[in-house]
Amino acid sequence: MSELKINQNGQLTSLDTVDGEIATLNLGPTHPATHGIFQNILKVDGERIISAEPTVGYIHRAFEKLAERRPYQQVTPITDRLNYCSSPINNLGWHMTVEKLIGAEIPKRVDYMRVIVMELARIADHLVCNSVIGVDTGALTGFTYVFQEREKIYDLFEEICGARLTTNVGRIGGFDRDFSPVFFQKLDKFLKEFHIIFDDFTNLLERNRIFMDRVIGAGPITGERALSYGFTGPNLRAAGVDYDVRVMNPYCSYQDFDFDVPIGKDGDTYDRFLVRQEEIRQSLRIIHQAKDNLPAGNYHGDVPSFFLPPKEEVYRSMEALIYHFKITMGETPIPAGEVYHSVEGANGELGYYLVSDGGRTPYRLHFRRPCFIYYQAYPEMIKGSVLSDAILTMSSMNVIAGELDA
């Protein structure tokens, strides 16, 4: 197999192929390894990739445009469908953005509840990503065990809000109800039992010789290149840059919690895998702290113009009835202005840029979707590597089609 020479900018300097023949290979849009609908038109010399041309937009649903016609609380279900592996983070991030715009005071208890939900979602997302790296290397077994744990996290979501995958959890201003005692029972059980399966999974893959040979050096990116692309989240941290929104720009009382930000060195698939493994452990630490120090108080802030009054109040008092009507119809007053809020999503900084002209719907809403940014770097990361590595790179970056195309 010929060596393709690639300079520092990732450009091909020599087309020194075996016989000068280059084939075109269509990786996608429906291919079992592209977890979602992406197309990559690869130019290959045997197994080695010379260039890749990614296409986006196969499941573009015009979320940003849809949001312009929807009252604020109706945007939440749209955010579910961004990164559907960790919907609660998207939901709560959106709520916090609106709260920032209206300047709502949120009780500490809500912050802590949100932290619990978001960290659970992060664990679920990382479990999916890491087990899928295993699947793409051919080890299907770890995946089935880890998915049982993910199901337990979904059970917890179900206990909170009634939904599992597209959660639509919480309301602007807090939660629609308090965590039930059953939730805490289930959470305790989950926290007690999770490490058993998780340690098994870790032992199966983390030091497995074949697995390490496969993932070390697959799809590397330097910290510098990652930064210039705009990487965030685990993928940036794997490249050795310790940027975490939860620490750099704390939201939702993250400053109260004690946790480490793991970083990698080479930015390859193995580092991304290890960073996610460690983040799962750190998320468990955060959940333990939030659960033990959960402050007493109300489960929602005092935002009558966005938080639906209790149903019995609606039947009894006129104010409640008016608010109920106005919120449901999206007729509550909202200040004009623009606001950017970002949360540490499960696979990167998930930002919401919201412009309001005081009307019933956002004037403009832009989602800063980390997957879209990662996917731009994909051709550079796989150039010169073999087909198998390209597939591992894709799964280890955790590019989710729903978030990529929005």
Partner: protein, 341 residues
């Protein structure tokens, strides 16, 4: 060769073929059940008691499925591919001694279709032909992913045949015969070749995994990269033939391993059984127990380990396995030389 002898052999062929097919059928079931066991699932349990009729349901489905031949495929080669794979898989078992003999209707029937004096060569030769089924099928599909699978499979099988052959030569040097029957009968009681050739056994076992295209060497299929590899374009019973031949290959490989290294039908205390028919049947049972254990190990490996990358696989084959096999050969030669003094 009298006509009764011909008839006897014919019956034996039919019986062995039938047993091979049924075993292969149930290996698909076993694979699914064992995978389920490893993955904390239930596995097939709907068709019949404990899902035992599942293989027949699968087979029936495959037969009645619509047959799709891609427009730009090389039609006759496309059909030939699975046929070659299936035929090669089924004829390998001809030289395997399932037991010594049984007495039936006053005749002594050897439990081996053909005791040819080059049994080992026959197996190595036939197994090499097996790659043609995959190559032809992958090429004729006119699909790039199939071609990738076919290229990977052929490169892999050719490389691993070398280490397989070299580790076999060590056994042949020890036993001084190419007849599989002889090799087996030289391992009475506990005197199994695995005790004298542990390294050779390991190399042969790994090569057998690679020859059967089983994980961690399932480069040819590699569903997450190549969709289905060489059988991406296949449907209905042609796909069934490919899958089926894989299981037959696995069964026969395990039979060869148990013959060459695990003493075949031999078991300790064999001389206590005097009745020849009972002895023959016990031998067959022992042989099957060994084979099924090996098959279980094959599946165990498949559902535990990730797969190699293509270049790592080739590196392992050429840079580790073949040198090790050569070292094994030299050591065996030296020991035999010293023993002769």
């Amino acid at each position: 060769m009298d006509s009764a002898m011909m008839l006897e052999k014919l019956v034996l062929i039919v019986v062995i073929l039938a047993i091979t097919l049924v075993v292969a059928l149930y290996l698909t079931f076993g694979e699914r059940k064992i995978a389920a066991f490893f993955q904390d699932r239930l596995g097939p349990n709907r068709v019949g008691p404990f899902g035992l009729f599942q293989p027949f349901a699968d087979g029936g489905k495959l037969i009645f499925k619509e047959e799709i031949i891609p427009k730009n495929a090389e039609k006759w080669l496309f059909i030939l591919g699975p046929g070659v794979a299936m035929i090669v898989a089924t004829i390998t078992s001809a030289v395997i001694p399932w037991g010594t003999s049984i007495e039936l209707f006053g005749r002594t029937i050897a439990l081996q279709v053909a005791d040819i004096n080059i049994g080992v060569l026959y197996i190595v030769g036939i197994v090499s032909v097996g790659v043609y089924g995959i190559m032809i099928g992958g090429w004729a599909s006119n699909n790039k992913y199939s071609l990738y699978g076919a290229i990977r499979a052929s490169a892999q099988m050719i490389s691993y045949e070398l280490s397989m052959g070299l580790s076999l030569i060590a056994v042949i040097m020890m036993s001084g015969t190419l007849s599989l029957n002889e090799i087996v009968s030289q391992q009475p009681g506990w005197h199994w070749n695995i005790l004298y050739q542990p390294l050779g056994f390991l190399l042969f076992f790994v090569s057998a995994l690679a020859e059967c295209n089983r994980a961690p060497f399932d480069m040819a299929e590699c569903e997450t990269e190549l969709i289905g590899g060489y059988h991406t374009e296949y449907s209905s019973m042609k796909l069934g033939f490919y899958l089926f031949s894989e299981y037959i290959n696995m069964f026969v490989s395990c039979a060869v391993i148990s013959c060459v290294y695990l003493g075949g039908y031999n078991f300790p205390g064999m001389s206590h059984i005097t009745d020849p028919t009972l002895l023959g049947l016990t031998q067959v049972a022992v042989m099957f127990a060994k084979i099924l254990f090996l098959v279980f190990v094959f599946m165990w490996i498949r559902w535990t380990l990730p797969r190699f990358r293509y270049d790592q696989l080739m590196r392992l084959g050429w840079k580790s396995m073949i040198p090790l096999a050569l070292v094994n050969l030299v050591i065996t030669g030296l020991v035999i030389g010293i023993m002769k003094f």
